[in-house]
């Protein structure tokens, strides 16, 4: 079985210890990998505190994905430190308040476009900037991003749903253009997790309740570790020949329509995580 010992990963998107990215970083460290986090501005203060709660305290580098020059500085710093990179987790998204919460029909263009840059375009910037480091890794570099099930509209998720659909297309094109450099690019579509970003969606409770009621394997919004296994798989050598994929970690919810009849009486309380 593949090992993460000695592997080196860049993890974006750690806000606090509720963040999916925090749980990924913790799992990688427990398996012997080295990680570096990125954060920016006001959020970095919280990220540094959350870094203290990880098994090994990682460095937190500055990365504002809306500033082009930051990507070059990040790649230079990682090159100086490690000279190569085994993988990166992109767990970054933002939508202005007027692009969420059933304001879809009145969202102004600057808000709609600002969210696109942070939530979808930034995956291209991050992957392109780090490609020279990822391609030096002998097992093939892995880029993993985070999405949700975007096949249907989720009321209240609004423009973020549009960005996630775009992110999936960005992933396919990155898979196309980075494959020749032995870099794979995949997404994990997560079920709802009660984190700061989750709670930013006004209909979060209704969405989470739907998953917890109807997902065939059950779901628990308070357990971000349920998503970690899918991310680790895609970062690992087991996924060496998979690219352009969306792997759902959602208790199976994407596969069926809920709300018909009565839910099967599973407990939904299986042991979470990996």
């Amino acid at each position: 079985m593949p090992t993460f010992a000695g592997r080196r990963y860049l993890i974006t998107g750690v806000l606090n210890d509720e963040s999916i990215a925090w749980h990924v970083a913790a799992a990688l460290q427990k398996e012997g990998a080295e990680v570096v986090l990125t954060s920016f501005g006001r959020v970095a203060r919280i990220t540094r505190k959350a870094a203290d709660l990880l098994p090994v305290r990682p460095d937190v580098l500055e990365l504002d994905v809306t500033a082009d020059e930051g990507f070059v500085a990040l790649a230079d710093e990682l090159d100086r430190r490690w000279g190569r990179l085994d993988g990166v987790l992109h767990s970054i998204a933002y939508a202005p308040p007027d692009a969420l919460g059933r304001a879809f029909l009145t969202t102004p263009p600057e808000s709609a476009l600002a969210g696109f840059r942070t939530s979808a375009y930034s995956l291209q910037q991050l992957s392109a900037a780090l490609a020279p480091l990822l391609t030096r890794c002998e097992h093939g570099g892995s880029v993993v991003g985070m999405t949700v099930d975007s096949a249907r509209a989720l009321p209240g998720y609004d423009w973020m749903g549009v960005y996630k659909t775009a992110l999936e297309a960005v992933t396919r094109y990155l898979a196309c253009y980075l494959g020749p450099s032995a870099i794979r690019v995949n997404l994990v579509a997560a079920g709802p997790v009660e984190s700061v970003s989750g709670r930013g969606v006004s209909t979060f409770d209704d969405i989470a309740e739907y998953y917890e009621r109807w997902a065939p394997l059950g779901w628990d919004r308070t357990d971000p570790s349920r998503i970690v296994g899918a991310v680790l798989f895609l970062l690992s050598d087991l996924a060496r020949w998979s690219s352009g994929q969306v792997l759902h970690a959602d208790g199976g919810m994407h596969a069926l329509a809920g709300g018909i009849g009565v839910p099967s009486l599973g407990t939904g309380q299986h042991e979470g995580g990996i």
Binding site: D17, I46, V196, G200
Partner: protein, 84 residues
């Protein structure tokens, strides 16, 4: 996490007061009876404060647990959880 340090209500209150002042809350409005719902703080401020509390005392407070809660009640909750 400094579990060996004795967790007193005074120390916890002082930590919360210092953090809230850092986050821009006027010091004179911070009292044991102040409710979090009435403060001018956003979700990032709450995440910041709760991460500080977890790092310092190892106590996990979820956002939903702060609804209708006063600073004094949060202090009591932290003191009782940290001393378990």
């Amino acid at each position: 996490m400094s579990m060996s340090i004795e967790v007193t209500a005074e120390a916890v209150h002082e930590l919360i007061r210092t953090e809230l002042v850092d986050l821009g809350i006027p010091e004179e409005t911070i009292a044991p009876e102040t409710k979090f719902d009435t403060m001018e703080i956003d979700s990032l401020d709450i995440a910041d404060l709760m991460t500080t509390i977890k790092r310092q005392y190892g106590v996990d407070i979820r956002r939903a647990e702060l609804a209708d809660v006063t600073i004094g009640e949060l202090v009591d909750r932290i003191v009782s959880s940290a001393s378990c």
